[in-house]
């Protein structure tokens, strides 16, 4: 029976293999209490970690731990509060004088001065440096010189920025913009130390900032270890010893690691796990509104969509969508049906107005059918909703919307989904104005201001006005709002402008997106800020 011994041997190999791997198991370690290290899921940032080059959440959450700017958005309310700024004065909403607080330094000991800001902003705006957030500086005077629409930069400095002394600098804008200081909490406006300019490659491999954490080690593509910085000046000192950000190839895998006790925090619970999340985590699951709204945008460069009748069609389509049912079943209530074009995180004082959309966003299939047939039907005979199929499970909800529209119109071919293979291809078709019907549009706010939900998306020629919508009345109201020195009046003007968007149904609001996160029993005091990023510095380790 030699064969039998072979079989035993083979079985033995498997057994040894499994036993050996067991040695690799065990907790994530890292101490407890104020020195405890929190391990958190992370995605590989798309761009190098530079403040003005980071435009997505993964890089953004690192900058949020590493950098502090003039202002910082309150993690609970989203209100812009002074951080490094002692005061920002203006008399005309166009010329600002920024005074810095005393005593702030970078973690390498260098002082944070007015020059740290001016140099950083000049670097960010300069076309030469290919910074993807350069447009954040577009309101500063001289932007068209340092970042011309074509050709190369004519100068290396923004003419609107002047250093007065170590603690003061002045900013001249190229238009009136009363709420401009409130935009300064955006990471692109962070100050940078000399090391950034002098040893750029070294800085990128180990960034130096002035925030509550400093970089301990950074292995690109796999792990970033942040540790509490003892010398941090701010009031929001880290409540834990540090954060280990681990890159996960898939958020499902991160979730698995969390349930197995190898990870403390997952800030993006995968849609497929939403059914189990209550049973797995209980009240260690967070589901709170974030400053993200999903809409359907339309191609106004296509003549068929730019007619007075098309307004009725758009409104009809909007009324044919059963938002409540889709958010309940497909998104398991991690989305809230939208009733305006902003986000609940702004709060009523900030410009959010529930129900502003009115009838247009209320499910009413009979009225929808009537409106669309009055207007002569859907342009081109069929509604095709374009989306990218590679990420974000967009197929499910697009199909659901089409289903809803088809039911309302009593025609099962009235609406179909139009998948595009990759996000890059989807974006390039949009920028080349190749859309023939509605397409998926999402907007994540840069800063919690109603201006950010309207101007970049619907103002004539604005950077993210992908559908090329244009309306003189809307533009006028936005300009008026920006020139207003009183914040409450500015918000009222913006809401009036939003009324124009509603009357024209410039884009169909679908739902507000929530941030969702789950955490282990080791940590507590976990919350998400209005940008759906965990407030890392407040996390306590038990």
């Amino acid at each position: 029976m030699r064969g039998a011994t072979h079989a035993k041997w083979a079985a033995g190999v498997v057994a040894i293999a499994l036993a050996a791997t067991a040695c690799g198991g065990g907790g994530s370690g890292g101490g407890s209490g104020a020195d405890g290290i929190v391990s958190s899921s992370w995605g590989d940032p798309q761009n190098p970690l530079e403040p003005a080059n980071t435009n997505e959440v993964q890089g953004g959450k690192v900058l949020d731990m590493l950098m502090r700017g003039l202002k910082r958005y309150d993690p609970k309310t989203g209100e812009a509060k002074d951080m490094l700024a002692q005061k920002i004065d203006t008399s005309d909403s166009q010329n600002f004088r920024v005074t810095l607080k005393d005593g702030w330094t970078f973690s390498n000991g260098e002082k944070v001065t007015a020059k740290s800001f001016v140099d950083a902003w000049n670097y960010g705006a300069n076309l030469k440096n290919n910074q993807k957030n350069a447009s954040m500086f577009a309101y500063i005077d001289g932007y068209d010189q340092i970042h011309p629409k074509s050709g190369s930069a004519k100068t290396d400095t923004l003419s609107g920025l002047k250093v007065v002394d170590d603690k003061t600098f002045t900013v001249k804008l190229n238009q009136k913009f009363s709420t401009w200081p409130d935009t300064l909490g955006y990471p692109a406006f962070a100050p940078l130390p000399r090391a950034f300019f002098d040893h750029h490659a070294a800085w990128l491999s180990k960034p130096i900032g002035n925030g509550p954490y400093l970089v301990d080690s950074y292995t690109k593509g796999s792990k970033l270890a942040l540790r509490k910085w003892a010398g941090y000046m701010g009031a929001d000192k880290a409540q834990n010893g540090g954060i280990d950000l681990k890159v996960y190839t898939d958020n499902n895998t991160a979730y698995t690691d969390l349930t197995a006790g190898n990870l403390d925090l997952v800030d993006d619970v995968p849609a497929s796990q939403l059914k189990n999340v209550k049973a797995d985590l209980g009240d260690r699951y967070i589901n709170t509104p974030a400053g993200i709204i999903q809409t359907l945008a339309f191609p106004y460069y296509d003549a068929a969509w730019n007619t007075p009748d098309a307004v009725k069609v758009r409104k009809g389509i909007s009324m044919a969508i059963n938002r409540q049912q889709i958010t309940d079943t497909i998104f398991q209530k991690t989305r809230t049906p939208a009733t305006d074009w902003t986000s609940p995180v702004l709060g009523t004082a900030g410009g959010y107005k529930a129900g502003l959309c009115g009838d247009g966003c209320t499910y009413n299939p009979t009225e929808a059918k009537k409106l669309i047939s009055e207007a002569g039907g859907i342009p081109g005979g069929q509604l095709k909703i374009t989306y990218n199929a590679d990420t974000g499970s967009h197929k499910e909800w697009v199909d659901a919307i089409c289903n809803s529209v088809n039911n309302a119109l009593g025609n099962d071919k009235a609406c179909v989904g139009g998948p595009v293979g990759t996000f890059a291809d989807f974006r390039s078709q949009i920028t080349q104005s190749k859309m023939s019907g509605p397409f998926r549009a999402g907007w994540q706010m840069d800063y919690p201001l109603i201006q950010n939900f309207l101007q970049p998306l619907y103002y004539t020629g604005a950077s993210s006005n992908d559908g090329k919508w244009t309306n003189a009345e809307f533009d006028k109201l936005v300009d008026q709002a920006n020139a207003e020195t009183d914040k409450a009046k500015a918000v009222a003007d913006f809401q009036q402008a939003e009324g124009v968007v509603r009357d024209q149904m410039a884009a169909i609001p679908l739902w507000y997106q929530n941030g969702s996160a789950g955490y282990s029993e080791r940590v507590s005091n976990v919350s998400l800020n209005p940008f759906s990023v965990p407030v890392y510095d407040q996390i306590k380790v038990s």
Partner: protein, 307 residues
């Protein structure tokens, strides 16, 4: 033999160029990579133009290909969109995937060939039927199902192993992923070996060896197995390349930051440099593995000569 190797190496050149050109063209038709870099916002046109120039995307495709190939011969695989050198990505990813592949191949060889020999010698017995059924089940179940189930039971429910692999990816953590990656090939190796052994066990030279009174283990290892291994070696050899490139699913499930992960990221972000660079290396691995397989034939069967 030397001449044979040289001829084979020369044949690799057109295959190499053809494969890279195809990949280059395929990645290029997927759309404008720069447009995807700015997220849901539109890139500002001046920055986009500048980036295109930096990555050489403003030139016609044939010119991009020539420049690229020129650089490759000096060891420069270009820069990925996140600012990292592709060679840097490779030096991080390849060691991990090579370790994973080694684990998988060892499983294939040890378990696959052992099971194949056992069943081949016991055709029709219960052990043969059971193993045949098991291999059929393994072949029928997709890798991601096996992977997720093993991860769920061994990693989460029973806590025998860590459900994911740490960035350093040492051998012991790669055992379960390696087994998952090897599973389907392992079943094929078992079946191939079984058939081959079954066929050869009736051969004259085996009967002669037995008649000579050689011990049974010597008959099996020196005479029977050695002659039966040629189809198996061919399969395992081509599998080296397939495992390295096809590890995407396994690497995703177990969070292994290897070649599959980098390729997946490269495709999602349409980073031509990353995708073409990694595939180029994979093509080379494939070609060399095939050459080694062909050379191994002579070792296994001295009657095979190369002119």
């Amino acid at each position: 033999m030397g001449r044979y190797v040289i001829r084979r190496l020369l044949q690799m050149i057109p295959v190499f160029f053809g494969a890279t050109l195809l990949i280059f063209l395929m990645v290029n038709v997927m759309g404008d990579p720069i447009a995807g870099l700015c997220g849901d916002k539109a890139c500002d046109p001046a920055t986009a133009a500048q980036l295109e120039k930096e990555f050489g995307l403003d030139k016609p495709v044939w010119q991009q290909y020539l420049t690229y190939m020129g650089n490759v011969f000096t060891g420069d695989f270009g820069t990925a969109f996140n600012g990292q050198k592709v060679t840097e990505l490779m030096s991080a990813a390849f060691p991990v995937t090579i370790r994973l592949t080694v684990v998988a191949i060892v499983f294939e060889i040890v378990i696959g060939i052992s099971l194949g020999v056992i069943t081949g010698l016991r055709r029709g017995r219960p052990v043969d039927t059971v193993v045949l059924m098991l291999t059929l089940i393994v072949i029928a179940i997709p890798v991601f199902v096996t992977g997720l189930l093993l991860q769920l039971f061994l990693g989460v429910e029973w806590g025998v192993v860590r459900p994911t692999v740490s960035p350093e990816a040492p051998f012991d953590e790669l055992l379960v992923p390696g087994l998952v990656l090897a599973s389907v090939s392992l079943a094929y190796v078992t079946r191939l070996t079984r058939t081959s052994i079954a066929e050869n066990s009736r051969a004259d030279y085996v009967r002669t060896a037995v008649a000579k009174g050689l011990p049974r283990h010597r008959v099996i290892t020196r005479h029977l197995l050695r002659n039966s291994l040629i189809p198996v070696v061919t399969f395992i050899g081509t599998d080296v390349g397939a495992l390295m490139g096809g590890a995407i699913v396994t690497e995703r499930i177990f969070n292994i930051h290897g070649v599959g992960y980098q390729l997946y990221q490269g495709i999602l972000r349409q980073s031509t440099q990353t995708v073409v660079g990694f595939v180029t290396v994979l093509v080379l691995v494939f070609l060399i593995a095939n050459l080694i397989v062909d050379l191994l034939y002579a070792v296994l069967d001295p009657r095979i000569r190369y002119a």
